[in-house]
Subunit: 302 residues, 2 copies
Amino acid sequence: MSILVVGSVAFDTLKTPFGERKKILGGSATYFSLSASFFTPVRVVAVVGEDFTSEHEAVLTSHGIDTRGIEHATGNTFHWGGEYGENVNEAKTNFTDLNVFENFAPKIPALYDDTEVLFLGNIQPALQLDVRRKMPRVAMVGADTMNLWINITRADLLETLKEVDVLLINDGEAKLLTGEHSLVLAAKKILTLGPTSLVIKHGEYGATIFFADGSHPFRAPALPIAEVHDPTGAGDTFAGGFMGYIASQPKITPAVLKRAMFYGGVMGSFTVERFGTERLQSLTKEEIEERFKLFRSLTHLD
Amino acid sequence: MSILVVGSVAFDTLKTPFGERKKILGGSATYFSLSASFFTPVRVVAVVGEDFTSEHEAVLTSHGIDTRGIEHATGNTFHWGGEYGENVNEAKTNFTDLNVFENFAPKIPALYDDTEVLFLGNIQPALQLDVRRKMPRVAMVGADTMNLWINITRADLLETLKEVDVLLINDGEAKLLTGEHSLVLAAKKILTLGPTSLVIKHGEYGATIFFADGSHPFRAPALPIAEVHDPTGAGDTFAGGFMGYIASQPKITPAVLKRAMFYGGVMGSFTVERFGTERLQSLTKEEIEERFKLFRSLTHLD
């Protein structure tokens, strides 16, 4: 099935203990679509500025990604600057230049009307809902969000969640959204808000999927990695592998969702090995299947 | 194989969001031995005071635990008082009355000379080493430690580690012991200090076992639990399940160590369901096997 992602295509200026990069390709929709492109046809809805060149676009199109939904606006592309210390789980933001992203109003090309799976990347919940309502016929809707929207646009977010099938967030976001200290109680609450599945990402400890129908949760590992060179985009890459694998399957079953959790972890583990999208750009399908086997051996008794 | 544990048999006075208990049976050797007793014969070396009654001892002996190594000294038993808030990962200590434990000098009854597996519970590293050297013929030695010993008796601890086969510690202890931020790098360092296997416990995220021979690590989940009634003893219970299962097997193989990781998690998940040793006291072998299956379904793709 084809998958459409709406989110940011951006530039990042980054510093980590392993080096620095200036104005490299980034953004939630970029990581998501590169990751998902290994599994299924991907379409992107985003906005970029005049500094987004054909070379940047070629990173996506060379992976077969349909970029006809990327709007080219006057001005500069969204540019984020940040750094990570020894604790790679905490980013320090140096600047956030929203530029053309500030007035992003997602437009869905008519060409994309037959999209079957929709992923609402981390943008304002009201925009997510708008896109979701423009795509009433999709078979499945995934979404991401962040602390900022939970804090300042909670009512909008709750409206959006009513029309989302699977939400992907991290531990801190799940707790903030529900006011619960226990992840299990937080998951229970969120599964009354709309989503029938909830993926909670635990960073280096992997991720858990919870189900509204009461079936047992499922835990996928993260790869024990000695050196995370750049954690940027790991969550979006996870989402791309997770949703991309689901979209590649003829039917969405519990077994498919479990394997999707593994593919999410597998894809995320590649991204953090190098800066930005470097590793995803050089990745092969064979490497993905090899690592999938490694993830299995990490967790399976036999 | 029989297993001998040396550690504390103590009383705990506890408060958690789910209630409180005064002077209930606790201590590392208590949790460890109750947990291991479901798998293999267990012997305990510890010291108690005059307030330790035959009823307390019966909790252990009714599980077939050999308590002839428990020394009865003049004075009171080690008594710890503490509480947990909403975040059950952080204990606040209200008092630590070492009492007879202050001058604990472990004596190994000659009866125990044929012990095959030794577990050095969380006591001073110099005492751990003394016990270990008194048991030169054991087939396998496990050990636990804590931040206090890493900080104030590091040299002793490093001597002890040279004669330990498997060390069980948590994330924070692994980082403190090595000065590494990355758990993988911390594990690599620790595996040069003596142990051939290292279990790092991640609390609610499960645990990982790392191997000195370079084979892939293995991750066992923790049960997603809505309400942890009392986290006291969870780590010692994990160790008891882990070591007890190993001791119950004819040969120590990688497959046995992986299953032992699951049994560690399974046993720990029971302990936190109620206060103190309450849940371990009422537990059955059937419940353990049932939960082992649940742990498998939590992590296995098929």
